[in-house]
């Protein structure tokens, strides 16, 4: 009885062991197959390259950075064209447009080669199984190495030239050699640099002062500040300047007219010219004016005498009353 129970228990344990082991294997195989898109519905997308850069069967296919499938076939159809067939998940395939571009690149610096499908922002219809999309050849490692080789050769030439130049400089040849090897020039250069330093110190001080001025202007502490910052004053100032401009134009015209009048007076024989230039006439006028003055005084005396005369006294009195009323 005990042996039978023991045997049954052993059988159960063995069964569990075998089932779990088999399940592990099946899970592993399913995971691998799933990643290689062997299960589920897939579509076939084809592209053509001139050079596949070491792409192999089973390499990943990426679309917008997501692994969506694997390379299922690589076939050379002529000396310049290689067909690359890819199995892509159908669920993602509907997002790949017919004008998408396939490129071959490396997964990391030393990683496997991958096919990258780059989407285009267009309204092209999605690919269907068997469609061929266009390809684009990126710069491969070989191209980079070739470029690097050219750069290397150039660097070697540059180094050789630099060596020649440094040898000349060391030997004191050329302007730079003289500059480095001539002690007098070095001393002069040192002095120059010293002076330059002083100058720069002074310039720095000046700049500080200038900054202060600018600052004070900004802080509205003076006329300039007010003018720069107060828009009303600025407007008034503008009006004043406009008026001044107009006035200056008027003054200019008046000056021109005066000049022409003066010119006329000087050049032509008018009364005013005669009055200005004839001295005898001036004297005569002067004496005439004196005589008039004297006459006027005497006339005033006569008029005063008339007021006191009995014949005219009444008349003057009447006038005075009228004016008072």
């Amino acid at each position: 009885m005990v042996t039978i129970k023991k045997t049954a228990s052993r059988k159960l344990k063995l069964g569990v062991f075998v089932v779990f082991g088999t399940l592990l294997l099946i899970t592993a195989l399913y995971s691998i197959g799933n990643r290689q898109n062997l299960f589920g519905s897939n579509i076939k997308v084809i592209t053509k390259f001139k050079n596949v850069n070491g792409l192999e069967l089973g390499n990943n296919v990426r679309y917008s950075g997501i692994n969506i499938g694997t390379v299922s076939k690589i076939q050379m159809i002529d000396d310049a064209q290689i067909i690359v067939e890819m199995i892509v998940k159908q669920s993602v395939g509907r997002y790949i447009k017919k004008d998408a571009v396939a490129t071959i690149s490396s997964d990391g610096l030393v990683g496997n080669m991958i096919v990258n499908i780059v989407p285009k922002e267009s309204k092209a219809p999605p690919v269907v199984s068997g469609d061929t999309i266009q390809s684009y050849r990126k710069i491969g490692a070989d191209d980079m190495l070739t470029t690097l080789n050219v750069t290397n050769e150039n660097a070697a030439l540059l180094t050789a030239d630099l060596l020649k130049i440094t040898t000349k400089i060391t030997n004191g040849k050329g302007a730079l050699g003289l500059l480095i090897n001539d002690s007098v020039m070095a001393r002069d250069l040192r002095l120059t640099i010293h002076e330059l330093r002083k100058t720069s110190t002074e310039a720095s001080k000046t700049m500080k002062e200038f900054n202060k001025i600018i600052k004070s202007i900004h802080q509205n502490e003076n006329v300039a500040g007010v003018l720069l910052s107060d828009s009303l004053s600025g407007q008034k100032m503008k009006t004043i300047i406009d008026n001044l401009e107009r006035s200056s134009i008027g003054i200019d015209e008046v000056t021109k007219n005066l000049n022409s009048i003066i010119k006329d007076i000087k050049n032509e024989e008018g009364t005013l010219n005669y009055l200005i230039n004839d001295r005898d006439l001036v004297k005569n006028i002067d004496s005439t004016l004196n005589n008039i003055k004297e006459g006027t005084d005497k006339f005033n005396q006569n008029m005063e005498a008339l007021k006191h005369n009995f014949l005219f006294r009444r008349y003057f009195k009447k006038n005075k009353n009228k004016s008072e009323q």
């Binding site: 344990k13 592990l24 691998i32 030393v110």
Partner: protein, 260 residues
Amino acid sequence: MTQSLNIVKRTKAFFIEVRDLSFFAGKFFKEVFVRPFEFQELLKQCYHMGNRSLLLVGVTGFILGLVFTLQSRPTLMEFGAESWMPSMVGISIVREIGPVITALICAGRIGSGIGAELGSMRVTEQIDAMEVSGTNPFKYLVITRIMATTLMLPILIIFGDAIALLGSAIVENLKGAVSFQLYFNQVFDAIEFSDVIPATVKSFFFGFAIGLVGCYKGYNCKKGTAGVGEASNSAVVYTSMLLFVIDFIAVFLADIFFEI
């Protein structure tokens, strides 16, 4: 002169051993499909060789994955390629290290056990008694054991691989802050059918070799207790050698068929 004679003698003995082993294998294939099938004995042997070895294989596999990852980490870090750890460890364990190490452990445990068990049965004339009693000792003792090792070793290897990867994932999780999901995703990204199928197929041959050599050595044990020890010891030595030969042939064929 004596030395050269010795070499000739040893070489001759080796080829005779190979011939006898081949005949023994031939007899196995001749008898395996002929009734009666000792099914209960097969299950018993499967339990002893499979379930009883699981702990040893599991512990060894776990430590193997752990140590392998710990040792490889600094070198990969020097190149800034720690992210390649899961794929490197995964491929190494599934393709080669897992099957070979598990097979060697089983050769030590099961092969020597079979050699010693059958050897002692031969020495104590139990096998002769079975023949006299009308039971076919070859069918009952040899075929069941070879079948059991052939069937159980692939399962043990699968468990060993899984536990080794788990050990590696724990190290990566603790040292490199790589999540278990990411680790196993990267492992399955790297592993292909061309890695799993040849490894699984060769594990059947490993199991067959362990059972065959163990049974052959025990079944043909010389008289005396010393013969039992020798049978047990030589079963392990011959099996280990044969495992590497089979591994070489398997890798060679896998390279031809799967272009690994």
